[in-house]
Each structure stands twice: as C-alpha cells, then as structure tokens.
Amino acid sequence: MLAPVDGDGAATERAIVVAAQRGSDDAFAALVRLHQRRAYSVVRAIVLSHEDAEDAVQEGFLHAHRALDRFRPDQPFGAWLYRIMANAALDLVRRRKVRDADELPENVAIPFRDPAESGELRERLQEALTHLTDRQRAVIVLHDVEGFTHGEIGRTLGIPEGTARSDLHHARATLRRLLQNIRSNS
C-alpha cells in the first residue's frame, strides 16, 4: 500500500531514481509526479490544514532532492520518501505550535474549522480530532484513510509497530467515545 509502483513499475522507478541521482531534472520531476499525491496524503495526516500539507510536501521534496545522493536504489524509494515527508510535516507542526504559543493560544483549539464543510458528524469529527495527540491522529488517518499497515506507519513515523498499533487503538477509542451520542442519534 505504501509504494505507488509495483513489479515492472518498481524497476522503472528505480531507473528514474538513478537518473535523478545523476542530476536529471526531468527524472526528478517524474518522481514528483509519481509520488506527490501519496506524499500529500502522508503529510496531510500529520499537519492540521491543507495549506500546511502543501508547505510540508514542498519542503519534503526539497529535503529529498538534497539527500538523493544518499539514497540506495535497492531500497524502496516510496518508504524513504514518505519518511522524509513525515519528518517535514512533524517539523512544520512543531514550528506551528511554537508560533501559535507566541501568538494566540486560544486559536489552537479550533484548527479544523472549515465553514464550507457541513454535516454534524463531520463538524463533531473535526472537533474530536483535536482531542487526539498529533501521533494518534496521524496513525488513524494513515491506517483508516490511507490504508497503511502498522509496519508501514511505524517506518514512516519512526515509531515501533506496536506503538502504531497502540496509538490506533487509543485514537479509535477516543473518537468512539466523543462521537457516541451523535452516532447513536443518527
């Protein structure tokens, strides 16, 4: 589920990576085209907004470009790239927290508000997501929305697989508890 290419696609991707490592801008552009959606999904699971996800994806690809010569082509490129993406997103979240702490602390509690979205469940879900830790939120989104396995989540976020499993359990329990009323009414 982690890599967007399989089989022959993996060999093609490996050739593209090698070309990018030799300095081909076109090859790097092809890697961006191939992975940007998945990269967006990974960082979106970690940051609090679509705009932050865009910033994190750009930063992640920049870091990947700088570190490309250290990547071993025999490794899965997707796993390597998404780990970089996750780190870029986590770094952005940390910077946002420092900034928000310096500015308006009361704004931190309502990061998911989007006036364009409707539906009570969705609104309550947005509110409930703020009760999860950053890591729990990332784990449940990567697992339940993106379909990552526990092992893939662990490798992407740099945590043990058991921790990912535990975070998923606690995240689901929290959401279940917070959304219980609305779900039983619907």
Partner: protein, 122 residues
C-alpha cells in the same frame, strides 16, 4: 488487524476519509508539481515562512553590521586622536615657558638663583 467493532462504524471512517480527501482536480496536481519543482529549484526560499526570510537576510545583515562596527571604530579612534592632538596644542600654546636664559636675564638675581627659581616655578 481489523477492529470489527470499528469496521462497523463506517460513518466515522467515511467522515474521516471525506475530511482528509485530497483534491481531485488534475489541474491542482499539475500546479502543485510546478510549485514543488520551483521550490526545489530555488533551494527552498520563499515558502518556509518569515523565519527563512530572516535567515536569508542574516548573512548580508551580519556583513553590514560588521562594516558599520569597523567604520564606527575607525571614527572613534580618529576622534580621540584629534582630541588628543587638540589638547596637546592647547596646552603648548597656552603656556609656552620662557627659556632659562631669558628668565635669568630678566631676573635681578644671580645666574645660579635664577636657574633654581626657574626650575622651582615650573
């Protein structure tokens, strides 16, 4: 591992998927790809926020500050040299002592006494 109870709660999962759904418009992805490549090409400046802009400015700002310190230091040294020179000049011009010979000549005391008086008076 699938949590059976959770898997039945499809409405929550559906809401999660809706909330985190990526943009579906192909043009969005074309635009994002262009932004990513531009970001990489310029080495990351421009979209990292004000702190990166400050970091970019830090080097020339430090150079400018160093030049200012050097210029200010040179000005202070020059001013102090001028003040010292003026001080010496004012002291010398305000109290030019008569020579020993002229002091002795003007005095009615013997030459030996005149010399002693001159030395004691200065």
């Amino acid at each position: 591992m699938i949590d059976d109870r959770w898997s039945r709660e499809n409405d929550v999962t559906d809401a999660l998927r809706a909330h985190y759904a990526p943009p579906s418009d192909e043009r969005y992805w074309d635009a994002l790809e262009a932004r990513i490549l531009a970001h990489v090409a310029r080495g990351g400046t421009g979209s990292e926020g004000w702190w990166s802009a400050l970091a970019e400015m830090a080097r020339p700002a430090l150079a400018a500050a160093a030049i200012l310190v050097l210029v200010a230091g040179a000005a202070v040294v020059h001013t102090r040299q001028l003040e010292a020179r003026n001080a010496y000049a004012s002291v010398i011009s305000a109290a030019v002592p008569p020579s020993v010979e002229s002091s002795a000549r003007l005095s009615s005391t013997p030459d030996g006494d005149a010399t002693v008086n001159y030395i004691l008076s200065h």
